[in-house]
């Protein structure tokens, strides 16, 4: 499975806005480039990233060919309850990567 690094605050107050960061290893080949002999390099990109908080989807992003390699996504959500925040990336050629981190809400 591809490498991913996520940053979730270890603890937060209930109702606090928390920042989440996630980066995943992926070439994000656009499908527009050609080799030296002129053949098209097939597209190979992540299509979607989903973030779930204790199983509830809180953030979703669709990716397109213009997104850079090893994409970094930073977004915020509300700290609701203690548990796990999971990130999942899916894409071309059956790409599937996931990473999660715990959060304690008091």
């Amino acid at each position: 499975m591809a490498r991913a690094i996520v940053k979730v605050p270890a603890r937060a107050r209930r109702g606090e806005i928390i920042e989440l960061r996630a980066i995943v290893a992926h070439v994000m080949e656009t499908g527009f480039r050609r080799t030296e002999t002129g053949a098209l390099v097939p597209r190979d990109i992540i299509r979607r990233m989903v973030c779930s908080y204790n199983g509830v989807e809180v953030f979703r992003a669709d990716f397109h060919p213009a997104v850079a390699a090893n994409p970094l996504i930073v977004f915020t959500t509300l700290a609701a309850e203690s548990g796990r925040i999971e990130f999942r990336w899916t894409g071309d050629n059956g790409f599937d990567a996931a990473e999660s981190a715990p959060i304690a809400v008091e």
């Binding site: 960061r21 980066i23 850079a68 390699a69 090893n70």
Partner: protein, 254 residues
């Protein structure tokens, strides 16, 4: 967003003050606040993806011996601390300069009895990034024994030699014009403080030799093959020139 912008400005001001009194500055100080922030946080530095791969490779058995780096060297945090700051190094038994990538491959072919890793391959970059990471914050400390003095001088001569169709020497841009602009981008002083680097232009990790190759193509000279002694001499001179500066590996550059 305002407090963050203010914090980044403050960070930039602090970094500017931290420049060594001799006027040498890392490429980090020529970068914008966004790229600096990317390097400063391991959760946003994409090179850390390679460092994690390197950590896994460090512990994985390889070759006919089935031995892992960790079987001989143990915990890299202790055994590899400061190692990257001392390479390239003169190998007295082989009577030649060896850079860190070549040292890794000597261990692979000699001790692990595994095939050498290809230059710029994901595995080799991952291992050198992982080993380099153990020296982050340590001063570059290049030894020049008397046998290596001619090799250092060869590197210095290469840095000063005009080459390529544009007939330019490294020193013309990186000594005399450092801090000025080339096609809108700041020209850094060419101190190799953070290799292997994640270069945004490359969308990936690359070695110092790949960077040197870039400059050679830029002046329309014919680049050497990866691992050529000419590159290692130039790496040696550049690291010696940056002696005492802190290693940032793995760094991010634009």
């Amino acid at each position: 967003m305002i407090p963050r912008a203010a914090a980044l400005l403050l960070l930039a001001a602090v970094a500017a003050c931290a420049a060594p009194p001799d006027g040498r500055r890392s490429g980090y100080e020529f970068m914008g606040p966004g790229t600096r922030a990317m390097q400063d946080d391991d959760a946003t530095n994409p090179a850390m993806l390679w460092v994690l791969d390197g950590e896994a490779l460090w512990r994985a058995g390889a070759g006919d011996s089935g031995r892992a780096c960790a079987d001989c060297h143990g915990d890299a945090a202790a055994s590899m601390k400061g190692v990257a700051a001392r390479f390239p190094a003169y190998d007295a038994s082989r009577k030649k300069l060896i850079d860190l990538d070549q040292r890794i491959n000597l261990c692979r072919t000699g001790r692990q009895q595994a095939p050498a890793l290809a230059p710029e391959s994901r595995e080799l970059l991952a291992l050198s990034a992982y080993i380099g990471r153990q020296s982050r914050g340590m001063p570059i400390d290049i030894a020049v024994p008397s046998e290596a003095q001619p090799l250092l001088e060869a590197g210095r001569a290469a840095f000063r030699r005009r080459q390529g169709q544009l007939n330019l020497a490294c020193t013309q841009c990186h000594d005399r014009l450092a801090g000025e602009k080339l096609a809108g981008n700041p020209i850094p002083q060419a101190h190799p403080t953070g290799y292997p680097i994640y270069r945004l232009e490359w969308q990936g990790l690359g070695s110092l030799q790949r960077r040197l190759r870039n400059c050679m193509i830029g002046v329309r000279a014919e680049p050497y093959a990866y691992g050529a002694p000419e590159y290692v001499e130039l790496e040696y001179y550049l690291m010696w020139r940056a002696r005492g500066m802190k290693l940032e590996t793995p760094a991010v550059r634009p």
